[in-house]
């Protein structure tokens, strides 16, 4: 594998071409700060009627439905659905384990490209993005912006990050939960090899705060299938020991462990109705992205009801 050079242009034209047509719609109700394409939790004064409710003291009388009052002598307030804009938070694992890659890209590069593409799409539809890069703690924070022109800035920041440390994904998710008040979408890009418990805890916190979380479980193809042969010296990353093993002899056991871990993560996502996406670095970025977006659009269109979904 050859790690690509730290190129600031992380955007994959092919992926973007497909993504532009699909767009990113919030699957849950989110709290935006301006009018946009996404449903708001607030019933307000906008255009689209939603429902009636009985008047109570303190309600603005401007919203009384006079026609109903005239016909029934009962006081009802008209409520309308309010569309708002979307803030998407990118939480990107920049630990050393993400630097492994047997294909053209390392997992980290794949995650960065995936994040950049998604950020571009979000900005393109005039929603906001914020980016957090973490390893043992949050190392890079790009504040919320809805300016498409900032995409290059975001990419430069992502490209400049050097992954050398261990991981503490739980802490990173907790930090995010604490710092973000308004509900939005959180994209998590990680291999989740370490601190699985911390990750699940972070997931529960974000769910509690009403965020929609999309987990991109970024794994190398070798890590998924483990097709290695011969005798191999595995140099452990993030402080793990070096092992000399015949991979064929432990393949079954390894795959059992790996699949069990993936299953646990996916189950946790399904229970929280979050989207779990397995991102195999051997699969072209455009394919991963379009598969995710198609699945997302289908889920969003049908009744616009939030629900767990997963890709692959």
């Amino acid at each position: 594998m050859s790690e690509p050079t730290a190129n600031a242009n992380l955007l994959d034209p092919d992926a973007l071409a497909k993504g532009e047509n699909l767009g990113i719609l919030a699957r849950t109700i989110i709290e935006g700060y301006r009018v946009g394409n996404h449903r708001s939790p607030f019933r307000g004064f906008a255009i689209e009627f939603a429902q009636h409710r009985e008047y109570t003291v303190g309600d603005d009388t401007r919203h009384l439905d006079w026609k109903v009052l005239g016909r029934t002598d009962h006081y009802y307030i008209k409520q309308y659905e309010q569309d708002t804009n979307l803030t998407v938070h990118f939480l990107l694992d920049g630990s050393e384990s993400m630097t492994y890659g047997s294909a053209r890209y390392s997992k980290f590069h794949y995650a960065k490209a995936l994040a950049a593409c998604l950020a571009y799409l979000v900005l393109l539809q005039r929603d906001s993005v914020s980016v957090n890069l973490f390893d043992t703690a949050t190392r890079e924070h790009i504040p919320r912006t809805d300016n498409l022109g900032k995409i290059h800035h975001i990419m430069n920041r992502l490209a400049a990050f050097d992954a050398t440390q261990g991981t503490n994904i739980g802490a990173a998710m907790t930090d995010l939960a604490k710092s973000v008040k308004a509900r939005g979408i959180v994209f998590v890009f990680s291999d989740i090899f370490d601190d699985e418990e911390g990750f699940l805890h972070g997931l529960r916190q974000l769910r509690f705060l009403g965020h929609e979380v999309v987990v991109f479980h970024v794994l190398d193809h070798n890590e998924i299938e483990f097709p290695l042969t011969g005798r191999v010296e595995f140099l452990g990353l993030e402080g793990n020991p070096t092992l000399v093993v015949s991979p064929a002899s432990i393949r079954k056991s390894y795959l059992r462990e790996m699949n069990a871990m993936r299953q646990r993560i996916k189950q946790a996502c399904d229970q929280a109705r979050f989207h779990y996406v397995l991102a195999d670095t051997a699969v072209p970025l455009a394919e991963t992205l379009s598969a995710y977006l198609v699945a997302r659009q289908e889920n969003t269109t049908i009744g616009r009801a939030p629900g767990g979904a997963s890709t692959r």
Binding site: E96, S97, M98, T99, Y100, K107, D191, F193, D194, D220, E223, L228, G230, R231, V232, E233, F234, L235, G236, L237, E238, N240, P241, L243, V244, V245, S246, A248, S249, I250, S253, Y254, E257, M258, M261
Partner: protein, 729 residues
């Protein structure tokens, strides 16, 4: 256990090869920076123990495989019991016995059992301790002592062994064992008798005596048996060859009965049986379609012998592994013609009422037109003519109900008998027992006294001849019920016969009995060994008419008269020209042959024996010239040439014991007590030579075959397991 190739054990060092391969064949390492170490650690921990066990098992399998291969090449073998066949390292007085019975001629395709025995004996000689002495015997029905006293001249023993020839003797181990034991008894020190035999049941017919002999010498002589060949070999044999008709006459068809027995365990089919006269081409042949195992089938074949004299008949069947019994020969004397004189005791006007009427017709049982060409010529006469007639032109004279004879007739008859003429007497109503019993000239000719005639006892009022157990050659034909029965002859009145004791050169015997065991017919037998033999006299107790019995009108009359005539006229005992193996041939010939060379040819032999070999000269003993020949160990037909003759003047046949063809081995249980020193390594089918070792425990069953199977199993297991392990890695 021992190793036949112990030096091969050095190859055990090759076990190091897989160990070295294991140590030096660590594969090239690939180096990878790996993120998912967490899962590797868990898997490696689980897999480490399994891998260690697999590696260890593989190592073990490979080491075992190499060890097995080495052992296979080293040929391990189980040791025989401690007292197995070992030749002593001390001086031994030994005797070697080779069974040379007919069954030892059986071949396994390359070697006969006798050849195997000879090789084994040579090996014993080679391995006996220097200073040992050894005697050498051939064991059969007759014991041939090639070297009767133990000698140190092993070169002589080896040469004699090389020249030792198989024989067609019947088997019997005891005489040779006894001779060997008697020879070794006086010797001091270690004594051993080595017996090479094919373990035929016949060889152990004196098992009781052999047991006693071994028991007697238990502490002094070791008896060591080498069993050659196995049990139940297939063998097809001619077990009998005999002529049916009484007198063999030149130019007359002669019926021969040939019995073929299948001693094997499989059905024999399409067996061609042939018969030939002397060394001529076969005259008759038939095909036996099928003989079941254990079954004997008889065939009738006809031959016609052109010339009078001594001849042999040879029956043959296709060859098998025991060639000795695929042919069988008999010798017989063929007459040109036979002249007989029938003396009517009471001539009657009516020819049918004459006492000799039935006899005359029985002797020439052909239509009157053919009588001139028939070999039997019959003349009629009266008692009175006996005194003056020249009786020597007749081979036999019948006295039919002759009352008494004038002295001159008696004296003429006595001379006739004394010079080889035969007399057959049927006394009847007219016979005077007083003359028969007391006449000083006539009475001594008779084999029995005539007791007063008596009526058959009530209530049947008739007496029959014996119904079975016919021992005399004349009546033995009727032992076969297919030939009819003599019991059909009913006698209402008869002269009881009282057998006379032997007198001088003349013995007497019973020819036939009544059912009540009284003697019905008796005969004389010349026992003279010198001079011309006396003629035979046969005396019946009834007349050859229907007055006292239905004998003349019974179906047995013609064959019995014919066979009696043949017996009476054949003064050459068939047993003198039909011999058992080893029995010397001796026959008198006219005195003018004295001094002539005797050349003997074994008909059907190969090599030098196929041509007449001069074996001696005609010798004169007393007034008679004799032809003698001793080397009759092999069965078959022999032709004897005297002087410069180009055609044989004499012939004889040697017949092996048909029991030898059965090839039945003695059950192991019967002989086990005798074989307590029989090494277990000597098994059926082995050759004796392979079973002899000196001063070492005798290797028994070899194990390489089992080890090879084990190695194959290990190799397959190793391959499969290695494949499984390598796939898992």
């Amino acid at each position: 256990m021992t190793f036949l190739n112990p030096w091969m054990l050095a190859a055990l060092a090759a076990i190091a090869a897989p160990v070295l391969i294991h140590l030096f064949s660590k594969p090239q390492l690939k180096r990878i920076r790996w993120a998912a170490t967490r899962f590797l650690l868990a898997s490696v921990e689980k897999n480490r123990r399994k891998l260690q066990i697999e590696d260890l098992l593989l190592l073990l399998l490979r080491a075992l495989l190499i060890a097995l291969l080495v052992l296979i090449f080293a040929r391990p073998a189980l040791l025989s019991p401690p007292d197995a066949l070992t030749l002593s390292s001390e001086e031994t007085t030994a005797a070697i016995l080779l069974d040379n019975s007919a069954s030892m001629g059986q071949s396994d395709g390359t070697k006969t059992r006798f050849e195997q025995a000879r090789a084994g004996a040579q090996d014993v000689l080679a391995k006996l301790h220097p200073g040992s002495t050894c005697a050498l015997y051939l064991a059969g029905a007759q014991t041939t002592q090639l070297v009767s006293k133990p000698t140190q001249d092993f070169a002589l023993l080896r040469r004699l062994l090389d020249n030792a020839a198989p024989s067609d003797f019947s088997s019997d181990l005891f005489p040779a064992l006894k001779a060997a034991a008697d020879t070794l008894s006086p010797a001091q020190g270690r004594k051993e008798i080595f017996i090479f035999t094919d373990n035929q049941a016949l060889a152990w017919k004196q098992l009781g005596n052999i047991r006693k002999l071994q028991e007697q010498h238990r502490d002094t002589i070791r008896f060591r048996y080498f069993i050659l060949g196995g049990d139940g070999e297939d063998n097809l044999a001619i077990t009998a060859l005999k002529t049916l008709d009484g007198t063999a006459a030149a130019g007359q068809p002669l019926r021969c009965i040939i019995e073929v027995t299948n001693h094997g365990k499989t059905i024999a089919e399409k067996i061609s049986v042939r018969i030939a006269v002397d060394d001529e081409a076969p005259q008759d042949e038939t095909l036996l379609p099928r003989i079941e195992p254990g079954e004997t089938k008889a065939v009738n074949l006809f031959v016609r012998i052109r010339r009078a004299g001594y001849h042999t008949l040879r029956a043959t069947i296709p060859g098998d592994r025991l060639p000795a019994d695929n042919q069988r020969a008999i010798a017989l004397r063929v007459v040109e013609q036979l002249k007989t004189l029938v003396i009517d005791g009471s001539p009657a006007a009516n020819p049918a009422a004459r006492d000799g009427f039935f006899l005359r017709h029985a002797l020439v049982p052909v239509p009157p037109g053919q009588a001139a060409h028939y070999y039997l010529k019959t003349a009629l006469g009266t008692p009175g003519m006996l005194g003056s007639a020249s009786l020597h032109q007749y081979q036999a004279i019948f006295l039919a109900n002759v009352a008494s004879l004038p002295r001159a007739a008696s004296e003429n008859l006595a001379r006739y008998v004394a010079t080889g003429g035969s007399l057959i007497i049927f006394p009847g109503n007219a016979a005077n027992p007083g003359f028969y019993n007391s006449d000083p000239v006539f009475a001594p000719l008779l084999p029995a006294r005539l007791l007063p005639a008596r009526e058959a006892p009530a209530p049947q009022k008739f007496l029959t001849w014996q119904t079975r157990d016919y021992t005399h050659p004349v009546v033995s034909l009727w032992n076969d019920t297919a030939a009819g029965t003599l019991a059909a002859v009913r006698v209402s009145r008869y002269y009881p016969l009282e057998l006379k004791p032997r007198t001088g050169d003349t013995a007497t015997g019973v020819l036939l009995k009544y059912a009540n065991n009284e003697i019905a017919a008796a005969h004389t037998e010349s026992t003279a060994t010198r001079g011309h033999p006396r003629g035979r006299v046969v005396l019946f107790g009834i007349p050859a008419t229907t007055d006292w019995s239905n004998f003349p009108v019974s179906s047995a009359f013609v064959p019995l008269i014919t066979r009696t005539l043949a017996y009476a006229t054949n003064t050459t005992d068939p047993r003198r020209i039909n011999l058992t193996p080893g029995q010397p041939f001796a026959l008198e010939v006219p005195a003018e042959y004295e001094g002539r060379d005797i050349a003997v040819q074994r008909i059907g032999a190969t090599g030098t024996a196929a041509r007449p070999q001069i074996t001696g000269r005609v010798e004169r003993l007393g007034n008679t010239a004799w032809v003698r020949y001793k080397d009759t160990t092999l069965a078959g037909a022999y032709a004897v040439y005297l002087g410069d003759a180009t055609t044989p003047q004499l012939a004889f046949a040697v017949q092996a014991d048909p029991e030898e063809s059965a090839l039945k081995t003695q059950p192991a249980a019967d002989i086990a007590p005798l074989l307590d020193m029989l090494p277990s390594g000597i098994s059926a089918g082995s050759t004796a030579k392979e079973n002899i070792a000196v001063d070492a425990d005798k290797p028994g069953t070899e194990l390489w075959f089992y080890l090879a199977i084990a190695a194959l199993v290990f190799a397959l297991t190793e391959t499969g397991f290695a494949h499984y392990c390598s796939r898992a890695r």
